[in-house]
Symmetry: C2
Subunit: 185 residues, 2 copies
DNA sequence: ACCCTGTCTTGACGGTGTCAAGATCTGCGC
DNA sequence: GCGCAGATCTTGACACCGTCAAGACAGGGT
């Protein structure tokens, strides 16, 4: 039911157009009509697939959480320590900036969307994988690693760090990790 | 030059109205016309004081950075360790949510505004006060503390933490601090 | 008295999200 | 083949929005 539209795959094309638009000028300046024009369809076409603007951004966020979960799981498989997973988190934020710019902004999304909850849950589970139980309880070490990586990524992308950090964010994040005890267990 | 308008102090009233509006529905949904109506003036009055929408949000952000700097300086004076300053940072984000929701979103602000830069610099300096030199170089411990507190606050406000954390954020943040080595120097 | 500057209003313009209605295509039973 | 039902997309309209230009208005210095 999801593919072979008149357009080919308009849903996919609209998500890609939205990602490109967010990459250029952020989620606040995103216009459904501009996205539609970018995809070569009429101004009301997006509403049919996503309901409203928040619906489109929700689809972008869900895609982002799925890719983030993939990234984190791969980091666990490859290395298996918090520091490497944190570095993968930071790299994801840099490499998928438009997705990241939308994923943690609930006021722009439909928080009850099933696909968003599923994908977000995958990410949370992947983050807690190194700390015993599932992602539902409060695990200080996991929350610490998540907060550290997330805060570093947000502050980096917002431009709050000195040039030395911007030049090599991964090395800086490694140094930040050493400044805490997170790499040591 | 800044007080005794026809209105009394319209600039202040508009900032307060903007903060209230952001508190209700976030910065993305903020409307200059709604802010003007809230303050009881015509729809174009805000433009005269702030230029445009980003100008109004810039004033809100600058006020936020000033208050944050005050908060952090008080925390240094009272206690003098990174953990307490981090806790003060988290409390600030909770207590001044509308300000915080705007302060780290450069795409909504005029990044070159003089007052914003001054206030933001005060906050950065206050954050680095416990780590030797000024706020311009890369100090891993300071960046770690900032990232941890900022990430914790963002994830908390975005609703990404379990209920146990939401119920008592400060206790949770203390536990997160213990999970790292940040409280130990 | 008079103008000048700062403050605010009025009116207009193009752009935006959303809704209702209609057009067009696709697959499927017959 | 054929026609119909439903999914897909377009068209047109509406209220709202940010921004700009022009004017109204007050107060102070000359």
């Amino acid at each position: 039911m999801n593919d072979s539209y008149h357009h080919g795959d308009l849903r996919r094309a609209l998500i890609d157009a939205a990602v490109a638009a967010v990459a250029e000028s952020g989620p606040a300046a995103l216009s459904l009509r501009a996205v539609a024009k970018r995809a070569g369809v009429s101004h009301a076409a997006p509403a049919h697939h996503f309901g409203d603007k928040a619906g489109l951004l929700t689809a972008v966020a869900a895609e982002g959480f799925d890719r983030l979960a993939d990234t984190l799981e791969a980091a666990w498989d490859d290395t298996g320590d918090f520091a490497a997973v944190g570095a993968a988190y930071v790299r994801f934020a840099i490499d998928h900036r438009p997705h990241f710019a939308v994923m943690f902004r609930p006021e722009l999304l439909h928080g009850d969307d099933a696909d968003l909850r599923r994908a977000s849950g995958r990410s949370t589970d992947a983050l807690h994988r190194g700390s015993g139980g599932g992602g539902d309880g409060f695990n200080p070490a996991a929350v610490a690693a998540w907060s550290l990586a997330h805060g570093f990524a947000e502050l980096l992308l917002a431009g709050n760090f000195p040039q030395e950090v911007k030049d090599d964010p991964e090395a800086a994040f490694r140094a930040v990790g050493y400044a805490t005890g997170l790499g040591l267990d």
